[in-house]
Subunit: 243 residues, 2 copies
DNA sequence: TTCTATTTAGGAACAGTGTTCGTGTCAACC
DNA sequence: GGTTGACACGAACACTGTTCCTAAATAGAA
């Protein structure tokens, strides 16, 4: 009745104990080319998401890539939810956090957010898992901690800093999710929404949409990244002098 | 080979033609107590989401509530995706848009966003459908149009207004999604994350998390709505004088 | 060395999911 | 009155996450 994955998961959310990778392994894994480990599962899963998107990430798919059955994964991973957690942990671990600099703190958080954005967009749709991730995941906490340090170094009062970071992370996740969903739509759908097509539709709207019709150009202008940086500037700009 | 739902869906995204509710109906629907219509499906679906949450929303579930099989729905609805689209359209249709007032424009958009928030939170998890909704949905466009009018009345330049509204809507959706997901987690999970529990965990973090440990109180303070209004104030505050 | 305990691997199955096919049934038009 | 076409729907397909239970193989104990 031993349940190692559950315990391992609980431990993951408690303390950053050095992962006790037992040098010696047991079980019928000698016949395998590569043993099934949590890292192998995570790596394989990330590869699938990178290549085919998050909703192609299936326990069966991962198991198949590892040349085994789906049941074999549940010895190392509690859930699909647990796997999701591991994935975004793995991604957050790659984020580089600069030493807080009081003079350039705004550029610094924007750069960290851009790192997260690029990391998430490289794995389309995974931001959904990021939104659902439990807030006590150690790797996401590491990123929060780093961002908090940067904003505090900028002289922002702690309460404002705490909530602002919450808002920033939430926005980054949402941005990536929306972008991924839109890309997936635009990929192989008959009604791909190019900018021209959008402009045409806005122009064809009835008179009850005066502003949308008049400012269709502004509404459809800019790349996704342009909007991303616009919003981040907007949020961070208001942090210095609160009203 | 007639495909009415596809055509209807396409029409929905083109022009707000008055819904041609043919007074006379055909087919073996006389034996039914209530005929299966798009409205009936949407209404039933909303009821399910309100009571049991978005991931209880299943084609089979809706069909069952309508006392029929799942195949019957596909005569009126193209997809589950189409149903999702209809649902958020229905919700957006309920949003009341005030007449733009240049003096109180900030309070006005915040109030509209709060309306959307309450509407989405009443149907837990449906914000996921809102994020995935195609941007040419007429009802969501109506809301965007209303918000655009308010911000423009506030004297914000059109380009800034357009992108800011995009950011606002994105944030509201993400906020609702995260809140719903957290609620679902906290509902019947053994590791429910109460505020005390969170404080304890932050206190137990290793020394590599100095800021998180020191400001655990600020990080865990406030209700979800507090954070919502904080962020909306933050975003709208930066709209007047752009740098 | 032999034996047992523990851990890992995995086949088969269960209860769900979205979606499609084909068939049957009824109402409205010519 | 017969034909047409919209509607309803049972059955099935290809999936999904997850659990049960069995088989294998090693680690430590006797």
């Amino acid at each position: 009745m031993a349940s190692p994955p559950q315990r391992r998961r609980a431990a993951r959310h408690r303390q950053p104990l050095a992962d006790g990778t037992n040098a010696t392994r047991r079980g019928p894994s000698a016949g395998r080319k590569k043993p099934i480990t949590v890292d192998a599962i995570v790596e394989t899963a990330l590869g699938i998401v990178e290549r085919e998107g998050y909703d192609a990430l299936t326990m069966r798919r991962v198991a198949g890539a590892l040349e085994t059955g789906p049941a074999s994964l549940y010895a190392h991973v509690v859930n699909k939810e647990d796997l999701d957690d591991l994935l975004i942990g793995r991604l957050c671990a790659e984020i580089e956090l600069p030493e807080p600099n009081p003079r350039t703190w705004r550029e610094q958080i924007i750069s960290v957010c851009a790192q997260i954005r690029d990391q998430y967009l490289r794995y389309p749709g995974i931001s959904l898992a990021a939104l659902a991730a439990v807030p006590t995941n150690l790797e996401t906490l590491r990123v929060s901690e780093g961002m908090l340090g940067i904003v505090l170094a900028g002289g922002v009062d702690p309460q404002t800093a705490a909530w602002a970071i919450d808002a920033l992370i939430l926005y980054v996740n949402a941005f990536c999710l929306e972008t991924s969903l839109l890309d997936r739509h635009a990929d192989q759908e008959e009604w791909a929404v190019s900018r021209d097509e959008l402009l045409r539709r806005f122009a064809a709207l009835p008179g009850t949409f005066p502003h949308t019709k008049r400012h269709a150009a502004e509404l459809t202008s800019g790349t996704a990244v342009d909007r991303f940086e616009f919003t981040l500037n907007l949020i961070t700009a208001g942090l210095g002098n609160r009203t």
